[in-house]
Symmetry: C2
Subunit: 377 residues, 2 copies
């Protein structure tokens, strides 16, 4: 039996391992920190940095196929694994084109995908020049390693630049970019899966509701016209094909008030906007990710209920996780509780999620929020 290695050991890796169990596939985990949720589920665990050639080498010996759970892994690390003859999906080429948002958007602009105006910046003065060209407000973004809003700051006016620049450089390094600020009607997401053979499928388009820049609620399917849904799916497919992606990708889009769709960004891995697929679709995003990276046929992506709503369980304090946190929420009928087994909670940290299926989005969302409110984080 082939062993599947995953770079990263948090919840996306954990849910990928959970799906791999159905196929009897062995997994291995490389994660920076000991006792990660996914590393507990294997006897093949390496603790080390994804930029540590020795750790990568040790990991390579355990694996036949390698994938990742986040895009903070360095493309050169994937290239090193490819050089040892391993099957690596997404490939180092795909990760290179994806993990730097400036390069990602350059690549997609070349495919004529509509997206907010953007420009790389090297100094605060460059931002002032962009503001004169695009107008204000602007979004200052880290080109790499941003997540859950930690890589983005909205600039209302030139005097906002200094603090934002300092904050992002401290956290994410010197590579920044600026984008036109978009006033959207809704944020949409499309989970795409593409096989090694290039066969590509999309899941139903969903609406994502952010709170404090972190995904809070996902509504599946999004309440949009079939024309918009088809255009969103087409953009998402084109984007994944443009980077020759293999595996699952989460593609985020802005829906404007006039019906225009703009590409926002994509992540080369199973995505928070696709967690609802575990109970909500014939084949979950995690199972399809495994099928894709193993070179197996993809599974059906249709929903199995008219509506599904996912609510993230976010930390509201700093400290140790209490085992009984989810106890009360388990009393809510039909609420599917996922609790990631993280040992420590922090403000805004993703600790779990709840998914509820229903006849309507309203019904499912009411139950999901009710269950989420019973979780004491």
């Amino acid at each position: 039996m082939k062993r599947l290695g995953i770079l990263g050991g948090n919840q996306v890796a954990q849910m990928t391992v959970q799906a791999a169990i159905s196929f009897g596939i062995d997994t291995a985990i490389l994660e920076r920190f000991a006792d990660s949720p996914a590393s507990r589920l294997t006897q093949y665990s390496v603790i080390g940095d994804w930029t540590d050639a020795a750790a990568l080498g040790e990991f390579a010996k355990m694996c036949d196929v390698i994938t990742l759970e986040n895009e903070f892994v360095d493309a050169w690390g994937l290239a090193l694994l490819e050089g040892r003859g391993l099957s690596v999906y997404p490939s180092s080429e795909t990760l290179t084109l994806t993990q730097d948002k400036f390069w990602q958007k350059n690549r997609l602009e070349a495919e004529h995908i509509s997206l907010p105006a953007f420009r790389a910046v090297e100094t605060p003065d460059d931002v002032i020049a962009v503001g004169e060209a695009f107008g204000w407000p602007l979004v200052l973004k880290a080109r790499r390693d941003g997540h859950d809003g930690y890589g983005n700051v909205i600039l209302q006016k030139p005097t906002d630049i200094h603090a934002a620049w300092t904050q992002l450089v401290r956290r994410n390094g010197r590579k920044l970019m600026v984008e036109q600020f978009i006033s959207f009607a809704a944020e949409l997401a499309v989970i795409v899966v593409r096989g090694r053979d290039g066969i590509i499928c999309t899941y139903p388009v969903v609406e994502t509701i952010q709170r404090d820049h972190i995904c809070h609620i996902v509504r599946a399917p999004a309440q949009i016209s079939s024309d918009i849904a088809q255009r969103a799916a087409a953009i998402a497919r084109t984007a994944v094909e443009a980077v020759n992606g293999v595996g699952v990708f989460g593609v985020e889009l802005f829906l404007l008030h006039d019906g225009t769709l703009l590409f926002n960004e994509m992540a080369p891995r199973p995505h928070n906007a696709g967690h609802f697929t575990i109970e909500g679709c014939v084949t979950s995003q995690f199972e399809n990710h495994i099928r894709a990276v193993m070179g197996w046929p993809l599974g059906a992506t249709e929903m199995i209920a008219p509506a599904a709503v996912m609510v993230n369980l976010l930390g509201t304090r700093e400290g140790i996780v209490h085992p009984e946190s989810v106890h009360h929420a388990l009393s809510v009928p039909a609420a599917h509780i996922h609790f990631y087994g993280k040992r420590v909670v922090d403000f805004g940290r993703k600790m779990g999620h709840v998914t509820v299926l229903g006849a309507t989005l309203e019904e499912a969302e009411t139950v999901a929020l009710h269950a989420a409110n019973w979780v004491d984080l």
Copy 2:
């Protein structure tokens, strides 16, 4: 976070661990053989016999709550774990009343549950005496440790006794019993889950189709009248309450041509007849087993589709498992493939299963059998 220990490391343990991941619960496995499917999913694995006090002692140190995946574990082993202050479900008392089929039936007869006439036998001559009382044919059964038909032999006439007696004693030891042979219209099964607090739920009654005494197909729900379904569920609940069971139990029943229901036997663990619940019900039998033994609220047991059919994937040869065995079956849309990750295949060995949901049993069964036929075992 509490750690859940499971005695046994095969597919039932594996699917229990898979369900435990959704709650972030750590698991530990005690299994006789190294490299069992479930032991690969934890860093807390003890290899040793369930009758080895030292192995049980080592295991006890790792765990807070203990359950089992098969009834071949000895009740005294559970009592030893209880004596160390662990929460053990099913309890040693329940296992004592359940794992010996003669004691099990004695207990249920006392609750006025209808079941085939039975009698313990100590010598072949005892069987002849039972034949004179009950008439022929008879079923000679091992009182313990039988599974998948390996503990039963049908006796058509007195001259069949000698060979059957020798075979069963060699395989299962000297404790045998005899039962009246039942000519049934159908075999039914009810998955029951009972919490620590005594709250009890049943899953929809299913029909099981055996082939060579091994479960081949499970049809959910069974095509029976609601009166029969209600009586079957009531018998199953009474049976589990009669042994003070906590956790999931699989209760098997005979449906006679006149509508009579007879209790056949029950197993104190998640059951092959309940594997369809993974995709087919709001809460799977494995998730509900965890909820029950942890002392948490039980989840809803309703089906999420009009029909579900499960087909077992049984070995058809002796040898090493080929990783590509399930590859073709993955092309069948809507077939949920489970492959248990056993390294070695044997004739009749349970290697995996396929579940398909559908609008009708016929539709689901056609697709499930089609997918199963594509698996090369």
